[in-house]
Symmetry: C2
Subunit: 319 residues, 2 copies
Amino acid sequence: MQPKLRDIAKDLGVSTATVSNALSGNGRVSVELRDRIRAKATAMAYSPSLQGRALRTGRSGVIGLILPDISNPLFPAFAQSIEAAAEKVGYGVLIADSHGNTDGQNDALLRMMRQGADGIVIIPRRGTRMKDLGLPVAVVDTPSTPENSASADHQDGGRIAAQHLQDLGHKKIALIADSRNSSVQNDRIEGMKEAMNPDTEYCVFWQEDNRRLDFVSLVAEGYTGFIATSDLYALSALTQLQRGGISVPGLASVMGFDDLAFSAAIAPSLTTLAQDTDQIATHAIACLTAQIEGTAPVQKVVVPMTLIKRDSTKAAPET
Amino acid sequence: MQPKLRDIAKDLGVSTATVSNALSGNGRVSVELRDRIRAKATAMAYSPSLQGRALRTGRSGVIGLILPDISNPLFPAFAQSIEAAAEKVGYGVLIADSHGNTDGQNDALLRMMRQGADGIVIIPRRGTRMKDLGLPVAVVDTPSTPENSASADHQDGGRIAAQHLQDLGHKKIALIADSRNSSVQNDRIEGMKEAMNPDTEYCVFWQEDNRRLDFVSLVAEGYTGFIATSDLYALSALTQLQRGGISVPGLASVMGFDDLAFSAAIAPSLTTLAQDTDQIATHAIACLTAQIEGTAPVQKVVVPMTLIKRDSTKAAPET
DNA sequence: CACGATTGATAAAACGTTTAATCAACCGAA
DNA sequence: TTCGGTTGATTAAACGTTTTATCAATCGTG
């Protein structure tokens, strides 16, 4: 049986209140007794019952993490970072999958509240207005989302990507995105457009209507650069080109976003823009704990994305 | 403020005990009163405080999920399945990352216990002996792990894979695995070996020493079939071959395991062996709840893997 | 020396639920 | 009528912690 406060108290002949005070440093306890109690506590490997504490204080020591789709290859990295950051400040992490839709998202929120989460980190669906839950929330999305608490600078990432290909001499660039429903992808595309020189030709290809793009014929049309809003689409493009006999990066350069698990492992390795998930997670958690513990609010933060140059981008071929 | 048991009780002029009994169906309450209480409860949108209940019953309603490495591309699918299965039976899921090592795994276990998890689902590191924690545990690994509770039949998956390529006429097959430290990979390789015909040449290439394999020169040596223990390595092989000008599946067939997120999206799409994570998760959760609630123990289960034929495997080229 | 302030510790209540023990009322049977 | 048994509800304790109010003792000061 785990030792309780009472056990320590009885052993030392003091009251449980004193023990509690000694351990938390809250009330008034003489230094000598405090040390004696703390020593005893560690000796007995005492660890407070979170349930008892939760009942009394109304705080469970758990935060909820709501992801639009756990199986999205980017989110594992986030989940890992969030878990690490939360653990560092003594919180557990409860996960929920919103199955990509708004209903699921609300269900998940409700479930988390029932479970007694002290706060929520959420990566929202586009267009979901975070109504006030009476619960601290940290939103991780894009800087253009008003409620956003911490995120990468996706728009600037877009700029960097477009700049990179143009610096390499590419004059006709295809931008590949999945769905207009993602604020992140929109911001990335927006950034790319912004950084385009007046004499650069480009076109955005949205894949949301599920039509498969034919990248090989795009090359025939003169495209030499491809920027996808995710490494997943970049991979799709890259393999399709290779299969069509188009050398990457010899005849076409391909780059993506997020530095997914496979991106370094493929041939050619994929040039990509990475976000610092650790930093974002740490900040999101800081925002949350500030709200929970009522300390000074933390500034929103926007973390720059960094270009990882690999082998899939090269100077444009001579025409 | 959330309504409490007392609020319902006061409103109806009964005792909190009666309300509790009416809602749980445990004690003795007249049918009429029971219905009246239940109606009132739903009308007030009552939901019991998990903390209060936890303190009294000693059960928190959350289970812990410990993953060796969240960023491994297979685990998201698992996490999602586990979360769904747990939610269905009313449990929340607390995640922890064991950072791939045994110490991290023990830390994670301890943290989960402190957090008051009622049980643990763990995907263990190879060779970790699950010491008795005094806490229900469900292990998800491979059938060859003695403590395993639910898993795919990885060995049989290996057999199916080897059979598939041999059926297509491949005579010289390269088996690609990452690390001997994974029971799963070992079982898959073992199954492949088992299914090899006497006249089939094959060789196992372990990548654990981080040497990059040169798949192109393997083709020059006469290999026409490649089976990787993960789609990740299969992808690596596939792109390397394509880059080297070797047509897949024209000159070489490539297949992998686990049907990762990208596997259907690449060109050619990847033939792979998939595991039914939902079924495995449901069963793992069933094992756990059986232990937690002290009901009849659930049989261990081994779920067959299914071959997903796509475009990366084809009949071996004529020699 | 007396009195207010400070220090060090305790007692007791509270958080919201479940459950064992209790109790009153009613019923049927001897 | 009386008594054991059943029914329907209540009372009170318990889970483990934190915290407010209380109290005794010591201290400093006028």
